[in-house]
Symmetry: D2
């Protein structure tokens, strides 16, 4: 039989199909599925979840179901994949989210999740927890996990001393830094650059702003593929690493004058400012690999341009007053997400396995953990790293 | 101004926009544009062209126009991009081709091109030349170029001794082997693999069948990105190169037993046969990087499968009788074309510059060249290589 | 003029000549020489030094002299290069050390250095400090630096609470870890392997025990040169890094069965034990890259051998009872030192610049620093890193 | 037992010991030894050999002995290792050569070899053949091999039409180009650079003159280790390869101004001329990787210097009139031979296996081969390549 013989699929069918591929390669979640089936940690427990609704998170939900949980799910505004949501509904997860939801609808969804009076929360940006605390009502939450650093900061700053249960912040795990940033984001940013531009990688001059783990991942990948890579990095110790890794460490002045493709990966705003846009060479290509789209001053780029052309889905070409042309990839959004397929499945597997194991720990031992934001327990880091090494060595 | 403010474009406008990006990076064609403007080689000459109609070939047409030529163009069935055709019409090129044309319509288009009684032909698969010779009528063609090796073989075999004018076969140039196969096809196949599968590249076991220039390009790219790469290559001299390049040279038996991702790049049929499909490990991923889709026996794969699922645009998952799952990328078509953006613009630039320079040589000196198929004159190879090195060093 | 016209040199002349090359490439010391000349920090101060006497340390002494210091120097038993010592004597340094000195003579030398009643000490293994404390007499030492981690541990353990002045432990600096271990030791171990064995690097199977910074440096270098590299590393987080860097992470069993060349870099004893020697394949090559020669059980190797042949300066071949042959490089001593030229000059420059800047800090601000062992002040790390990046970018 | 317990060795014992290591790793010769033992091809035949006398050639002689040959050997002036010669004598080879022999003694040795009236010759630089032809007497030579390209050229030019028997020129084999030049010479030149200078490889600016197989080997190795590599190459097709391999293709002007370390690998004289020496930057390091020492104009370098210092065995430092300092490695001789251990054993194995197989072919089928210089028969190339791939895959 062949693919072209398939009848047209319903949304739920399409969602199931698209989840299949992720399922095959989320090996750590698959191990946990077997463990949870043998010894269900969540029997009688309700888990309230706020997370982007896409194939990989769908697999996490199915693993939690296997562990005996009732799962109530909402997503983030604009990122919900409706076919995946439909497929999840069919498996028994309660889903309150649609792609077209706005901020108001999102808040309503958050509240509907909390109405199920969950025992555990899996939060994203601390939205569930903050709403819960505002309500000040009685609740039976014994613990939560938080996916993002942003949510972790919110918990440690604005919500400090107000959270009466332990919250394990997943993104603080050193594993994520190693596997997701350097080896996940780095190469997929380069892939998305190739996809958007169709340009030859070797013998081009690139500059990478920032030599943290994302910047290092991009720079090493470009160099491995034959590029000439300069790095601008104010921290001299990181700059020394860059130099020893074979990068040309240079200053902003040189970088602007002698490069063609510019990647920002500093995590800070204002890297390619209006003043620097004014000094870019003709033909410059700008791409952002940082989490926020603030590293390139896009408003300023538009202001300086006398002409803007959307050449393709991922490439905007701006012609500046003096005739120089500057291309912006993926609208300045994080290139591997906005212009590519996102992080590799295996790096997501690592993060989701940290989630599932942390939720199990909370279900089993929340009384042993202090209240408030805290890192992933070290034994969970070790166990997840060990399992990942075993899976990677199996290939 | 921003991209989202653009009004909806007409097909011709869309075609112009999409051609802009290619135009910026087809540097050798840009050089030739200036030369042709200064000294037009084609004044009073009509050039009949058969070539895939897409942005990069559109730029070639505009350069030939600049050289004084009247340009009559047809494409290949199924690959014509109608917006680019519409844009070309506006620039004065006469275009006879639509995406939906079938073989009959294509033949009709070929004949309409020949009705303009061209002086020079740029052929693809020797379609124009064969039709011209069949007509046996008088014509004023003084020379032609042929894009493909397949067309070159047709000229050297079936049409041997029948072509009364010189035909320069572009694809025989050693430059194309170096730049297009190893550095063009190789990395874009890996990029398309990442795009289709969203899998992590390092720490996976790959096997590449064939260590010619395409296979070497794929293998080196995978290894540079952290993969474990085995090579199956019957020619011991090429196998020795693979071993010294850091690949594990192995036999078919070992390759099937110990790999996860399989790339065919032999240029020959029957690499992954039915008998070998029967020995693939669970989770095997099959991809073809050869010109034809005959290297993997797809019919046999479908026959052995009890279930076939089209998981996404580029991934079909087959479940074999014994439960093993095998994924096929891009339906077994050449992965970087069918599942990616094709060769990098610069490698196309090289080939199109060889075309434009060869057409100029034919216009100026066709009497000095022998009749029949022949390689690109060596001085043109040198001149194009020199220009490309200069452009690559400019970045 | 040519080298062969040179008359035979005196030892001091030979020492001067050999120091010249180091001097040209110790760029950070050269910068400090200019700073010290402009503003001598050590006027009226005596510095007592215990350090290997070879060209690079000779340059450090000359820089301290330039800073106004009186310098009294002793070396380590067995490593003193007598020609360099003779050359240093000529420049005004007082040197008490000869290559043939034994432990007793060394202790006597230590005491003679202390007899000069130094204000500052540069110590190696805490020999000067321990001897000073034993004497319990009055002394005028206001601060010291300690080169090694071993010395640092001795100060933090046995001598804890007994040292009345600040001691800056140079080897604790993160800069040294990055530059010396990964980029200094790693590649020079591979170079010394090539030198000792004259074997081809690509297409060989290596195993590296330990994926700390030394192990990583060796593994990356071997892989970059085309080797197949396995890593044995019990810490799962380091093992994950190795896997993502393209290494085969394997267990001891597999490593012994499937490798040919074995590098130990764990920093711990008992890696290649007698039991494991018994399972090595015929033709195994053993090399140690750790600081001590305890990682390979050499006594056991000799015991199991029925024949031992010193094939060349750096290669001993042992034939075991069952006929298997095992080669040991550099007698199991740290390969890049015992069988090569040691760390690259620039990595020594980094460490010696940390020494010189720390001694200046002690001269100027010892009262602001706490007593006892402490890390290099962060601003000195930053300043040295910055200077090194500038020098590396100058090339 | 340990190496230090060994009694002092006689020269022959030392020669045997030093040959042991080569013997273990000359795997193709070992295979031929078994074949020759089973079916001796040289029974009753005398082979006259002229070849550098060192451990690897000693193993070849022992293999020929095993094949039934009587072996008469001489070396080249200055390169004979007397201990290896003594060891060979003990095995039955007749050796006429000592290290201290001059050109006159060498010619005498050549004649003594010929006095044994050999049936086959293994020649080096065509010395044996030329002397034989001069003698014009009757002889019973039925065929010969020639090791070098230089000897091959002499046979094809000066001695053209005068050689009445087939001469197989080993160095013309494509295998040697791949394995010896790119993967043998390239990395060992880099190793010898590290050995001579003790400098850090990454983050330095290198230029390689010539991008033939030796130049490519050096450039790729330096880049893999983190260097910034420029290439000067007049042939635009090779230059294009360099650019695509990630090298900066540059012109002589730029190369002189912006590099620190200069490798010549063009095979032609006059690369670094006096005029160019005058433009070298202060601190330049010059190294030659070509066969002859004519690529750097050493006489001119000495002429322009006001001071020359032999800093160490492999480094001469010249101070030019204006104070710039230029270092010359290994006196401008081929760096990996004069300043290192020469090509890896396995690359020698390849060449010696081609020798042994060609001699067998001549013994068995000389009548089927034409007279005069000719390449290695293709089936021998294939067989040697196949065997080498098998051995490399065994590690």
């Amino acid at each position: 039989m062949g693919r072209d013989e398939s009848p047209t699929n319903s949304p739920a069918q399409a969602g199931h199909l698209r989840t299949r591929w992720a399922e095959l390669h989320l090996r750590l979640l698959d191990r946990l599925r077997l463990e949870f089936r043998a010894t269900p940690p969540f029997t009688g427990l309700t888990i309230g979840i706020c997370l982007h609704i896409e194939p990989k998170t769908a697999v996490l939900c199915s693993v939690l179901l296997e562990g005996g949980a009732e799962v109530i799910l909402t997503g983030s505004p604009g990122t919900t994949q409706d076919d995946v949501a439909a497929a999840l509904q069919e498996t028994g997860v309660k889903v309150f989210s649609r792609k077209r939801d706005d901020a108001t609808a999102h808040l309503k969804n958050i509240r509907r999740v909390l109405e199920f009076d969950p025992h555990l929360l899996l939060d994203n940006g601390a939205d569930l927890i903050a709403t819960l605390l505002e309500a000040r009502g009685t609740h039976r939450v014994v613990g939560a996990t938080e996916e993002t650093t942003t949510g972790g900061n919110r918990l440690r700053e604005q919500l400090r001393d107000r959270v009466p249960f332990p919250v394990i912040v997943i993104n603080d795990s050193p594993l994520k830094l190693i596997m997701e940033n350097e080896h996940g984001v780095g190469p997929t940013v380069v892939e998305a650059f190739m996809r958007a531009t169709n340009l030859l990688v070797p013998s081009r001059r690139y500059v990478v702003f920032g030599y943290g783990s994302v910047g290092r991942g991009i720079a090493r990948c470009l160099r491995a593929l034959g590029g000439h890579v300069s790095v601008v990095e104010p921290d001299p110790i990181r700059a020394l690493e860059a130099a020893l890794d074979g990068m040309l460490v240079t200053d902003m002045e040189d970088a602007l004058a002698n490069s063609e493709v510019f990647f920002t990966a500093t995590g800070r705003p204002g890297v390619i400012t209006g003043e620097r846009i004014a000094r870019l060479p003709d033909g410059a290509v700008l791409a952002n690999a940082g989490h926020f789209s603030w590293e390139i001053d896009i408003a300023e780029l538009k202001r300086q341009a006398k002409k803007a052309e959307a050449l393709s889905a991922g490439v905007d070409l701006f012609t500046l007053q003096d005739g120089r042309r500057v291309a912006l990839l993926a609208g300045g959004e994080m290139l591997n997400l906005a212009g590519g397929g996102g992080n590799p499945i295996e790096t997501m597997d690592l993060g989701l396995a940290l989630q599932a194991q942390s939720l199990r720990r909370l279900a089993e031992s929340h009384k042993l953990l202090p209240a408030g934001a805290q890192p992933v327990p070290h034994d969970i880091n070790l166990s997840v790293a060990r399992a990942m090494v075993e899976e990677l060595s199996r290939h």
